[in-house]
């Protein structure tokens, strides 16, 4: 099995550990990982802020970078949702506005080949026990795009409960948004921080040592709040927990 990694721009520049963890994890499960170097960003920040025209070249770039790869895996629910939900729509709108049908075809063609990491593990590889070891108490925040956009359901939790040594504790109000919301975090900083503070308070009250998520953008916001408050709670991407083993623990 071969799969192409769409690492996403945020992970590439700020959270390379997440990308590295995905590579280690997939290779451990017998998957050959490709990294098409032409990839950059899915265009979500532009599109979600209202700059659809600015997003179009990135839709094209992403679709072209992954042409010919039957499986594209990404450790970000919101980027997966962007490609699956919005790429076809952006393509259709571009075609309707007379900028050629080619973008529409590219976008439509890519959408069904893109998998969020937990979907790829559970649905394509058919595993829930990935052989990980992580002896800590963990609580999980299912980001909105994973929860409602992609309908990831209990996939992440099934993967986490199969990790040896890991104790999963429920996060009260888990389905509530953390307040990141892309540019919302800077356009409405007060509301954003208020939402995030409620989320981190709920996470800290569980007694968990690690707040886990599957989207580093949400985690960057929550982690920023936790560190400003000097909280001992740390954030970790799900991929890093799943990549950790007894022989190769998380550094």
């Amino acid at each position: 099995m071969r799969a192409a990694l769409f690492v996403t721009c945020v992970n590439d520049a700020l959270y390379p550990r997440t990308g590295i963890a995905v590579v280690r994890l997939l290779e451990r499960l017998g998957v050959t990982v490709d990294f098409p170097a032409a990839q950059t960003c899915c265009g979500q920040p532009q599109y979600n802020t209202g700059y659809r025209h600015e997003a179009e070249p990135l839709v094209r770039r992403t679709a072209e970078a992954f042409a010919g790869h039957p499986y594209v895996v990404t450790p970000s629910g919101s980027c997966a949702a962007m490609i699956r939900e919005h790429y076809p729509r952006i393509g259709r709108r571009a075609a309707a506005e007379g900028r050629g049908g080619e973008l529409a075809a590219l976008a439509r063609e890519l959408a069904p080949r893109v998998y969020e990491l937990t979907e790829f593990l559970v649905d394509v590889l058919g595993v829930t026990d990935v052989g990980a070891y992580f002896p800590h108490t963990v609580t999980y925040h299912p980001s909105c795009h994973g929860l409602r956009g992609l309908g990831l359901g209990d996939r992440p939790r099934r993967l986490l409960t199969a990790v040896r040594g890991l104790e999963l504790v429920e996060l009260p109000g888990a389905e509530e948004c953390c307040g990141f919301g892309g540019t919302f975090a800077v356009k409405n900083p007060d509301v954003s921080a208020a939402m995030g503070t409620d989320k981190t308070a709920a996470a800290a009250a569980t007694g968990a040592r690690v707040l886990c998520g599957a989207d580093n953008s949400c985690l960057a916001h929550l982690d920023g709040l936790l560190r400003r408050a000097r909280s001992p709670l740390r954030t970790l991407h799900l991929a890093e927990i799943l990549a950790a083993t007894e022989e190769e623990p998380l550094s």
Partner: protein, 489 residues
């Protein structure tokens, strides 16, 4: 208080105050979480909820597609039943029609059924200017009116108030409007409700004119429908001699049978009740029973312009249940007033910029008053894809584009104040359009990683005011991959 609230500060500034108001946040959190939980239970009781939701959506979409036909059918049915239909293109026209109708009766005061449409057009203020006093009879509206306040929720306009605050308002203000509150007055809900009942009874018994809205209008029969919980609306709808109903054109449904859907979905979505306690229906006039004169004012006020937009028009399906407000994490922190309109929360964020346009600062900021978390779409009983409309309106604000204003298709320019943002988006696209440039940028960032400031200047300050920046890694993923993998091939 004003019906339109234009000239309000943009959402982020208006929300800032609310976020800092601990009492307000506690009131809102308590109220929205309680109703949210109850709604979920009430909805879960119906095995066919998804089908009801789809049916409600389909009926509304069908009606909107043939709105002209159904409105004419409605007009004919209302007229045949002894009512009079008036068409109002905008708020000003609607206010003028109602004012003239009231003045013609010789009355100078009237009672009101809670209605979003009359708030939208600022009817009470317009009547006041003509020397007519309108008394709100819905308990929550009464609290808002007595408190010289603005409503902050569609269904529970005084949701931002707690019992102690309400007691104080009743004590100081009731006497100025009519029967004073009994002394002593505590903050027990029953005591407060009794004070309101006594105060309002005097108004009901005296009133000759009533003004209402309607939740639905049935085209085939000309029937108006109001759903409520208290029964005060029914008093207004049955006791006075003249009844004037101001209703948005989108409230029409084709047949009586269509009500079957909404009489199930609306109460469960809004108050988490299986059925609302009072459903009042009236069709024209009947001799010796109820009002002897009935006027229906059909309000457009931006609705047909909204209808012309293929993406945005779904907002007109709204049945004003307020479920989207109660699940919205932004509404919960920002409060209803920050939305600068009688329609707060997620529906307000998509409806106001369509009804009013995006020229004003508050309207241009509303499409951004959401994290796009999708909770509103999930609960909406007529399946309005609010995030989709938000994105569509953001595009209108950031890029400009075609809109319909007063029936004419025009291209609007991007809203003011987005120049810096647009430049940043362009710069990002240049960087992201070239992986080599991105790689160089990442290396530059990595080299400067020790300089990571605690506070950023400019727009970045909004992040660092309350959050630390992420640590910049020594090496990007791209570079790691090249070093680890490509080197050995």
């Amino acid at each position: 208080m004003s019906g339109t609230y234009l000239g309000m500060p943009a959402f982020p500034e208006a929300a800032r105050e609310a976020v800092r108001d601990g009492v307000l946040r506690a009131n809102l959190r308590h109220a929205t979480h309680t109703i949210r939980g109850k709604r979920a239970l009430a909805v879960a009781e119906l095995a066919d909820w998804d089908r009801l939701r789809a049916a409600g959506r389909a009926v509304k979409d069908h009606t909107l597609r043939h709105l002209d036909r159904y409105l004419l059918q409605l007009e004919a049915a209302v007229t045949a039943a002894g009512g009079t239909v008036h068409w109002a293109a905008d708020a000003e026209e609607a206010n003028r029609i109602v004012t003239e109708l009231v003045l013609a009766t010789g009355e100078r005061e009237l009672v009101k059924v809670k209605s979003m449409a009359t708030q939208e057009i600022g009817l009470n203020e317009a009547l006041q200017a003509a020397g007519i006093t309108a008394y709100e009879t819905d308990l929550a509206e009464l609290i808002v009116q007595l408190g010289h306040d603005r409503p902050s929720h569609i269904l529970v306009p005084a949701i931002h108030r707690n019992r102690g605050e309400i007691r104080d308002i009743f004590r100081t203000e009731m006497g100025r409007w009519g029967r004073p509150a009994p002394e002593p007055l505590g903050d027990d809900p029953r005591e407060l409700a009794e004070a309101a009942r006594l105060h309002l009874r005097e108004k009901f018994l005296r009133a000759e004119v009533a003004v209402s809205g309607a939740n639905f209008m049935v085209a085939e029969t000309g029937t108006m429908v109001v759903l409520e919980s208290e029964g005060n609306g029914r008093m207004c709808l049955t006791l006075p001699e003249t009844l004037i109903s101001v209703v948005g054109v989108e409230k029409v449904v084709p047949t009586f049978r269509d009500l079957e859907i909404f009489l199930q979905t609306l109460p469960r979505s809004s108050t988490a009740e299986r059925m609302n306690p009072y459903t009042t229906m009236w069709t024209g006039t009947t001799d010796g029973d109820g009002p002897s004169a009935f006027h229906l004012v059909l309000l457009d006020n931006g609705r047909t312009d909204t209808l012309a937009d293929p993406v945005g028009r779904q907002a007109l399906r709204c049945i004003r249940c307020s479920a989207c407000l109660n699940v919205c994490p932004v509404y919960e922190r920002a409060g209803g007033h920050a939305y600068g309109s009688v329609y707060p929360g997620p529906i307000g964020a998509i409806l106001s910029p369509q009804l009013r346009g995006t020229a004003d600062a508050i309207d241009a900021s509303l499409p951004y008053a959401s994290t796009l978390c999708g909770a509103c779409y999930e609960v909406c009983p007529v399946a309005i894809d609010i995030p989709e409309v938000l994105l569509h309106l953001r595009e209108r604000v950031a890029q400009g584009g075609p809109v319909t204003r007063d029936g004419i298709r025009v291209r609007i320019r991007p809203a003011h104040g987005h120049t810096a943002e647009r430049a940043a988006m362009r710069a990002a696209r240049l960087l992201l359009g070239h992986p080599g440039a991105l790689r160089a940028g990442e290396r530059l960032l990595a080299r400067a990683r020790r300089l990571r400031p605690r506070r950023l200047p400019g727009p970045g300050r909004a992040w660092t005011d309350s959050r630390e920046l992420p640590a910049v890694p020594a090496e990007s993923f791209r570079d790691w991959w090249a070093r680890e993998r490509e080197a050995c091939r």
